[in-house]
């Protein structure tokens, strides 16, 4: 069934794409899908196109991520490019239910060059849905030039998307905290572009100035801070220019990480197979009695798992 769906996907069948995304979201038949989709993380060779640009939008709930994405969809379509959106919203840890309410802010259309998929993200999974990497590659194979990821409105520590996206856009709004907020770890440092949205509000420049001041303390990194107002229809073209000016960073980093994760899985499998080995048990006992230091026990264990 997967092979048939993948074949239909390659021939531009949207329903097949939609079904494959569902199967991927459920974590089923991932290995089959992955192996059919070229080499993991390699730029897709489909129809000789350049690889898709993956842009993540993160920021707290209500900052205007969906609305801004809606604007950018129109802008990118006017440039003649096809765009897909994976929009994540939180899933209840109690009922497993979710209200996926992003796409209605992005404007409705029947344009074949736009594809929007709503996804439920479980708590504690880095503000994004599971298996997003495979979904991105499905969309890339289908032929989308730009892929937008919308994280759940968490705002702090949404670092998972960094490994998946070429560009991370952090969205802030005026009146959202004093200047110590910008000193907290993981917020500004993960962003490639910072947007002060709702910049028609009178204190927008003050927020932008605070953010720029905080960024000036991090040497050697220049992050554009842009004021955008969707209400006043200002700043979107400049934002897209800033996004396009950045390199397609995703490939090398995430390919190495993927390989590392596979290596970890292999080592874990070997460890589980050998837990009853006399050698390993002797090592553990010696370590528990304090005869071997932790550092040297770890080193011995790693070496014993080499083959």
């Amino acid at each position: 069934m997967i092979a048939g769906l993948l074949e239909r996907l390659r021939h531009g069948d949207r329903n097949a794409l939609a079904r494959l995304l569902s199967i991927t979201a459920r974590g089923e038949q991932l290995a089959d899908i992955q192996s059919a989709l070229a080499i993991p993380c390699e730029p897709s060779p489909v129809r000789g196109r350049s690889p898709s640009r993956v842009v993540a939008f993160t920021g707290s709930g209500g900052v205007g991520k969906s609305t801004l994405i809606g604007k950018l969809i129109n802008l990118v379509r006017n440039l003649g490019r096809k765009v897909a959106v994976l929009a994540c919203d939180p899933q209840s840890p109690l009922s497993g239910g979710a209200l996926l309410g992003d796409r209605f802010r992005m404007g409705s259309s029947t344009d074949d060059g736009v594809f929007i998929r709503s996804l439920a993200a479980q708590t504690g999974h880095g503000a994004i849905a599971d298996h997003l990497d495979v979904m991105i590659r499905l969309l890339e194979t289908f032929g989308f030039d730009a892929i937008f990821l919308e994280t759940v409105g968490a705002g702090q520590g949404d670092v998972e998307v960094r490994n998946l996206a070429d560009v991370v856009v952090l969205m802030l709004q005026p009146e959202s905290g004093d200047d110590v907020q910008w000193e907290k770890a993981g917020i500004l440092e993960c962003a490639d572009v910072i947007v002060v949205h709702k910049s028609d509000m009178p204190t927008a420049e003050q927020t932008a100035a605070q953010v720029r001041a905080a960024l000036d303390l991090s040497m050697g990194r220049s992050v554009p801070v842009l004021r955008v107002s969707t209400k006043a229809n200002q700043g979107h073209a400049e934002l897209w220019q800033a996004i396009e000016a950045l390199p397609l960073r995703r490939r090398p980093a995430s390919a190495a990480l993927l390989l590392f994760q596979m290596a970890v899985d292999t080592l874990r499998q070997r460890f589980e197979n050998r837990q009853q080995d006399a050698e390993l048990r002797k090592l553990v006992e010696a370590w528990q009695r304090g005869e071997v230091s932790t550092a040297s026990a770890v080193e011995t264990l790693v070496r014993s798992l080499e083959s």
């Binding site: 939609a18 239910g97 996926l100």
Partner: protein, 133 residues
């Protein structure tokens, strides 16, 4: 693992009454479903596109405008054209008694009028249908 039911909820045509559909959205969410809220003023074409891209199991339409005998058949037609006849369609809102058999004959799975309990909607959606191909 039990996979959550995916349902698109939308209002088609010129109809701004969205209190009911939002209450239903909340109830289905609390019943463990994934509810894709497509919002107000949708065209039949846009609703079907949403159902297709979201790979939904169900489509719930809310109409309080009186235009249901025009808009609902149109949605059903476009669903068929899009090869999505397997998606179940439910309708809520102000639907006169006399129109209910007409709509069900066209292929609407169930019509929920004013006074319907939320539990009835949940129970109806959770009753197994034949699996989609």
């Amino acid at each position: 693992m039990d996979q959550p039911i995916r349902i698109v909820l939308a209002k088609v045509g010129l109809d701004g009454h969205d209190r009911g559909i939002k209450v239903v959205a909340r109830a289905l969410r609390d019943a463990g479903m994934h509810v894709i809220y497509a919002g107000l003023w949708q065209t039949p074409e846009a609703v079907v596109r949403t159902v297709a891209d979201e790979d939904a199991d169900w489509l719930g339409l809310s109409l309080l405008s009186g235009a249901h005998m025009t808009l609902v058949p149109r949605v059903l037609d476009i669903l068929k054209q899009a090869d999505l006849a397997n998606v179940g369609v439910i309708v809520g809102g102000i639907i006169p008694e006399a129109d209910i058999p007409k709509l069900t004959a066209m292929g609407v799975a169930k019509i929920f009028g004013p006074g319907t309990s939320l539990d009835d909607i949940v129970a109806f959606l959770k009753t197994p249908r034949e699996h989609k191909p």
